[in-house]
């Protein structure tokens, strides 16, 4: 294994350029270095003007998602040594507008996330004197997988539907809606149904499945969407055949 590796980094400096350019940097490649270490080396030693997002360095904050050799990855857990002698190509996440270099604009995702109400909805809170909302381990298991989402947006970057139709509400937002729909303490199913069953909601998904493939937390957004399609179809059927009072 080489002790240095070439990183080809996509740059976009809106004050000087109208499009992206690729810059090559040679960085050390010890076996414990991840792509983010390489970027930090470039920023510290070679070119301080390089812009990118990062924070925790341990796959929790979801900030450092980028496209590495064509694949959406968290750069804090993608080892440089996995790319042999290189080069390693680093680009911003696809399907998002680029603000600068490797920094993408995430406003669209944030707006969609809020629309699905990713919090516990209860029209009436019980009084504190009645104690906490208790939950069995089985009830927690129902939603736990979906609660692992760190909003890194790799799934949006891998989703061709979102790339072609940015109105699609997208994998992570739907998975997070399911996280709360399946929570025994939540009563917001009906409110979320209206948003999720829109044309740009679950029905926009055609089960490409790449969102699940690239998810660094094994959330399985594709599974969440297919599962919700069944729920929405049954709800639709119920509303068709049963009077409102009997549902």
């Amino acid at each position: 294994m080489a002790d240095r590796i070439t990183m080809r980094v996509a740059r976009y400096r809106p004050e000087d350029e109208s499009g992206a350019t690729v810059h090559e940097y040679e960085v050390p490649c010890p076996k414990e270095w991840v792509v983010l270490d390489g970027l930090n080396y470039i920023k510290d030693r070679l070119d301080g003007s390089l812009s990118y997002r990062w924070s925790c360095r341990m796959g929790i904050c979801g900030s450092c998602g980028m496209t590495v050799n064509g694949e959406p990855k968290l750069t804090c857990e993608t080892f440089l040594s996995d790319y042999g002698d290189g080069p390693v190509r680093v680009e911003p996440l696809r399907n998002f507008p680029v603000i600068r270099d490797l920094v993408v604009e995430i406003g669209d995702f944030m707006r969609k996330l809020v629309r699905v109400k990713p919090w516990i909805v209860r029209p009436n809170e019980k009084p504190l004197s009645e104690g906490e909302y208790r939950q069995t381990p089985e009830e927690m298991d129902e939603y736990k997988q979906f609660s692992m989402c760190i909003n890194c947006m790799l799934c949006y970057s891998a989703c061709p539907i979102y790339g072609l139709d940015p109105a699609f509400i997208g994998p992570a937002a739907i998975a997070l809606a399911q996280r709360y729909n399946l929570d025994s303490r939540d009563e917001g199913n009906e409110e979320r149904l209206d948003i999720l069953s829109e044309h740009e909601g679950i029905w926009g998904c055609t089960f490409v499945g790449e969102c699940t493939e690239v998810c660094p937390k094994d959330v399985d957004p594709a599974g969440a969407i297919q599962r919700y399609k069944l729920t929405a179809a049954l709800e639709g059927l119920k509303s068709f055949v049963m009077p409102r009072s009997a549902r």
Binding site: Y12, P14, G70, R94, G107, T206, F207, G223, Q226
Partner: protein
């Protein structure tokens, strides 16, 4: 930030890149997705063919025989072979999707995805065997 921002020297223009025309060739899953989308036309043909068959059967013995003769035409045969391939492709996609859409619990435990898929494939094999038995002189 606003969805349609006003770009200023202090808020420079975002770079928006369009997906390449050949984006669907870049991953196997994308290719499968596009193939599924395009091949829906064959699924539609399958339904039309079935309706034509039903119409022929309901009309008369002669029209049924005429339909069979037409079905033996090499072009119709070729079209139906291609259609069969895509119907199987869609069926396999559907059966692989089933365990993701259905969460079945037995004795408090979640039934493994492979078992749900397998039960679908078994039901498919059963239905095929029944059709074959009917066709081949049951």
């Amino acid at each position: 930030m606003n969805e349609h921002p006003a770009y200023t020297p202090y808020h420079p223009r975002w770079l928006r890149s369009r997906p390449s025309t050949y984006w669907w060739l870049k991953r196997r899953a994308y290719l499968a997705f596009i193939t599924r989308e395009l091949s829906s036309i064959f699924i539609a043909w399958f339904i039309v063919y079935l309706l034509l068959l039903i119409r022929a059967v309901s009309q008369s013995d002669a029209s049924y025989r005429q339909f069979l003769a037409w079905s033996r035409h090499p072009l119709v045969l070729l079209l139906n072979v291609v259609t069969l391939f895509f119907v199987v492709f869609h069926a396999v996609t559907w059966f692989n999707l089933a365990p993701k859409a259905m969460v079945v619990r037995m004795g408090g435990k979640r039934v493994p995805a492979s078992l749900i898929s397998a039960s679908n494939y078994l039901a498919w094999a059963g239905a095929t065997a029944l059709v074959l038995w009917l066709l081949l002189g049951g």
